[in-house]
Structures are given as structure tokens and as C-alpha cells.
Symmetry: D2
Subunit: 170 residues, 4 copies
């Protein structure tokens, strides 16, 4: 196998994929994720969810490095404001997990996402996440219009069909 092809295969699923509902990522459970009770440590599920949100952003064209480097006018970071997490089942070492992320709503300076962590079809953990972007002074920033189109394609489809038209620049 040529080096280039090999790299392609190895990196194929690295950022997950955009889906009709939002974004899907697959990830493995390693030693580092587990605790002595035998299953994944509860706070580590939040890291899997962060990966899902970060890769959703990435595939939607938003990069942490660019945000951080001020490509959007000033240094911007994402901040999680609130999470509701239901731990329904437990993931174990060697498990392959699916992390599904969708945007429920974007309202001014807040984005509301729903995430599911599954093993096969079994939902193990569910999270509702309220996040924001903040500038260097810690003040929240409004989401650029093109991000709304990127994170909530459905809203724009609906908006267009009802001629509300706030997603024209899609």
C-alpha cells in the first residue's frame, strides 16, 4: 500500500462525518477512559462529547486554531455554559462508541446541542449542551450567520421554504 493511501485509510474516520441530523463520530474506549469500577469514568464521557462537537465544528468549517488565532477579528474560544447528562448505561474497555451530535437551536450568543453516545444501537449516555463563544474579554459573541447555516441546515431549509430568508448566504 502506498504511503499516501495508507494515510487516507488511517485518517478516514478521524473527524467523523456530517449527517442529515448533524454529525457522527466513532471512537474507541481505552484504559485511560475507565476507572476501577470496571467501566468508563463518568467525566470521560464529556471528553467523547467534546470530540463530537469539535469535529462537527471542524467539518462545518470552524477550526479552534483559527478562532484562537483571531482569524475572526479577535481571539475566540468556545465555552460550555450548561450540561444535562443522563448516564443510562456503561461503556467498557475495547468498546467502539458512536457519538451523535445535532444542533437543537441557536439563539443570539447561545447554541443548544443534543448528543448521544451509543454502543451499537444502545444509547449509553445522553447530553444536552448549552455553549457560547466568547471573545478575549470573556464577553459572549453572537454566532456568525454562516455558522447558523452550517450547524442548523434544517433551520435554513425551513426558513427558505417559508421565505423568512435569514439563511440566504448559505
Amino acid at each position: 500500500m502506498a504511503d499516501h493511501d495508507e494515510r487516507d485509510v488511517l485518517a478516514a474516520g478521524l473527524s467523523g462525518a456530517l449527517t442529515p441530523f448533524g454529525h457522527r463520530l466513532m471512537a474507541r474506549v481505552y484504559y485511560a477512559d475507565t476507572d476501577f469500577s470496571g467501566v468508563v469514568y463518568h467525566a470521560r464521557y464529556l471528553e467523547f462529547f467534546e470530540r463530537g462537537r469539535s469535529d462537527f465544528l471542524r467539518l462545518a468549517g470552524v477550526h479552534h486554531t483559527e478562532l484562537h488565532d483571531g482569524k475572526h477579528g479577535e481571539k475566540i474560544v468556545w465555552v460550555v455554559r450548561r450540561m444535562e447528562i443522563d448516564f443510562r448505561g456503561s461503556a467498557r474497555i475495547d468498546d467502539v462508541l458512536t457519538i451523535d451530535t445535532r444542533t437543537d437551536d441557536i439563539s443570539g450568543a447561545r447554541i443548544y446541542m443534543a448528543q448521544q453516545l451509543k454502543r451499537g444501537d444502545e444509547v449509553l449516555v445522553e447530553a444536552r449542551v448549552e455553549a457560547a463563544i466568547v471573545g478575549e474579554n470573556g464577553r459572549p459573541r453572537r454566532f456568525p450567520k454562516e455558522w447558523i447555516a452550517a450547524f442548523m441546515p434544517g433551520r435554513c431549509d425551513r426558513a427558505r421554504s417559508s421565505r423568512i430568508g435569514s439563511c440566504d448566504n448559505r
Copy 2:
């Protein structure tokens, strides 16, 4: 300073202290807790909260090792079922944090705890935690009556004063 005394001072606050409302622990923010945005990574707050709950248990006389070794009849582990977390502010490297934990309710096989992570008097993160204890088969177990007295002293005081008397074995 004699070795014994030194150890006493170094270990003085290690498990925090029982308080009228429940339990208080102090902890430091290190490199490991932070992320590149400059503040504590959101999932690491859950580790601080776990420390608070674990030490509350410890001072109330409940040890993970004993639970795990089956001292209570079978191997028992704590499981977090649900968390609601409000991230109001950000902790930074070198910060000294206070983690306050109290029990809001115990109902059959569920315990409801409220936790605050503060820097000085400023509340940075608040969490509501629903936890359970499960046996080896993964089935929830009822909380022993003496634990209710240990985790919710207030309830027993109220119970006694109204002669309901379900906390007599305190």
C-alpha cells in the same frame, strides 16, 4: 518538626471536613486541570466534584475500598445517573477552590446531591447529581438506613423532633 506532626499538618485538610450543611473540601488547580483556552477544562470540574462526594462519603464512614471488597455483603460501586451542571465562571491555574457538597434527598435507591465549586465566595460551577449504588449484577441497591443518617443529618433531626423516628439508629 517531628515526622508525625508534619504528616498531620500535610494531611490535615486532605479529606475536607463535615459541615452543618454536609461537606467542604479545598483543592488546587494544576496544569493537568486546564486547557489551551487558559482556564480549567469543563470535564475536569466533574473530577473536583467527585473528590467532594468521595470525601463526604469517607468522613461519613463509607469507604470505596470496603464497598468494593464486599464488606457490605456484595461488591458495591457508586454510579452517577444524572448530572445538571452550570458553568458560571472559570477557574485558573494556581486557584484554590472550595467544593461544597450537600445531600438534598435520599429516596430508596437514589441519592440527590447539590454541589458548588467556589473561588473565595464566587460560585464558579454548580452541579446537581443523582447517584445510586449498584451491586455486582448492576442492579441498584437501597441505601442502608445508617447512611441516610450520615448523609442527611438534617432529615433525622427533623424526623426526631416530629417523632417520626425513622433515624433512631443514628
Copy 3:
């Protein structure tokens, strides 16, 4: 895209790939891996290395769950005995890393592995790892002969060509 195909792509590189030298895995840097200095926290590189070793094992046919469930006679876990780590450069948020793992030697109850973490062709971190497998009593166990063939294919090739023949069961 059919669901089955999509899953194949998403999971394609999940366990990395066996290579002539051993094993290669690619992984992404997320918020959780970084610290406030702006780059990956030094201890998190060890998690990337663990993923590399775990997936090398996996593709070589050795599963943590099976080891843990006693498929090999008793409950077995991997233990890292010694690490030498050179931190030459720093990985950053959003970086795609390559983790290369090879076995340098297997001797009785010890396995010696060399690992490199790279961004593109630049070696950021190098590690030499001495590991062992231990049984339930904590006592080291000898590596099964078929594992030697799986982890050190080169040695068996050399052994066969020189008719030493300790790798016949490959």
C-alpha cells in the same frame, strides 16, 4: 450512503494498521488534551501511546476484555513497568498525530516497545516502554509464544531463516 458503508468509513482507521515495523495509529488533539500553556499536557502523550499499544495488541489478536475475563486461564492485565520519554516538540489543538509502535524485544515476562508520536514527519515525542502481563496475584506471567510471533514478526523471520525455530507455531 448506506448505513453499513458509512460505519465502515467512520471506523476505518479506528484501530490503526499493522505495518512492516509494527503498528501505526492516527489520532486527533482535542481541548481535553491541552493545558493552559497552549499545547498538549505532557501526561496526555502517554494516553496517545497507550492507544497505540492497545491497538497494536488488538490487531495482533490480543483483547483486553478477553485477558480480563480470564480467557487465557486467569484474569490478566498489562502493566507498564518503566518508561523513558523524550518530549522534543509540542502538539497543538486540532493537530493530527501519528503514533508508531514497534516491539524491540520480548524477554520472558517483559516486552520492550519503542514509540514515536509525530505530526507529519516531525517527531514530537519518543518513548521506550517496558511492560509486563500480570495475573490476579500480581505475579508476572510469561508471554505466550504466539504473542512473540504476533508482536515481533521480524524475530520469527530471522529465527526461521537461522533454523532456531522458536516461532514455529506462527
Copy 4:
């Protein structure tokens, strides 16, 4: 107990203590530190070691925040360059650990530290750490002379007694 006194007790051992050999810190093992094999995850020992080094710095008068805020002329961060770690034994949930840190040598822009993690008198993990301080451009910076006195008191004692006198500003 008055609030002020309580805070004193809770925070008493928080930063450990300077010792004749360097620095000692005590810390507890929580769920978050363990993995499914039942003991502390190997990479988490590095977090305990970082706490020891950070608090040694703190008590020696060097604060990450001040370094980061450019109090010393430019933004400075600590970087670990190399670690050799021997994992001799395993720490378990609820264990109280002692982390001993001493400076072996300071040479230009490098500091060499030796660390031990113990449970009671039993040494579980030993580490040799080579670290450096780097400025904003990533270039190593020489250690200020007063830091040498702070981190290697012994060297200055020896220096003074032999009238070499490079530690006069202590």
C-alpha cells in the same frame, strides 16, 4: 469553629511543605485516577508528580500565573523535556500518597528533579524529570540565580562553605 480557622485547617497541607531535601506533598487517590485494572492508571502518576513540582515552585516563591502574566519580563511556561519513570508498585482508590520532590541539578537552562511517590514508606513510583523554562518564542531561558538558591538550597550551603559564592543573593 470560626470560618477563618476552618479554612486554615482545610488548606493546611494544600501546597505541601518545604523539607530539608526539597518538597513533600500528600494527595489522595480518587475514582478519576484509577483504571479498570483496579489500580491507578500509569499516566495519572505524572499528574501527581506535576502537583509536587508545581507546589515546590509555589513554596519557593515561583507562581505559574506570574510566569504566565509576564512578571519576569516575558510570558514563561515550564516544559518537561524528559522523564524516566519506574513503576514499582500500584496505588489504589482511597490511598493517601506522599510525593517527594528534590532538585538534583540546575545547569543553565535545565533543571533535573528526582521524585518519589510513596504509600507510607513503600515507594510505588520513581521519576527523574528534566525540565526547562521557555519564553513566548519557545526558546529556553536560563534559570534566575535566586531560583537556584530556592530549588537547591543544599548547593548554596556547599557553595558558601567553600566560598565559591554563586548563591550570595539568597
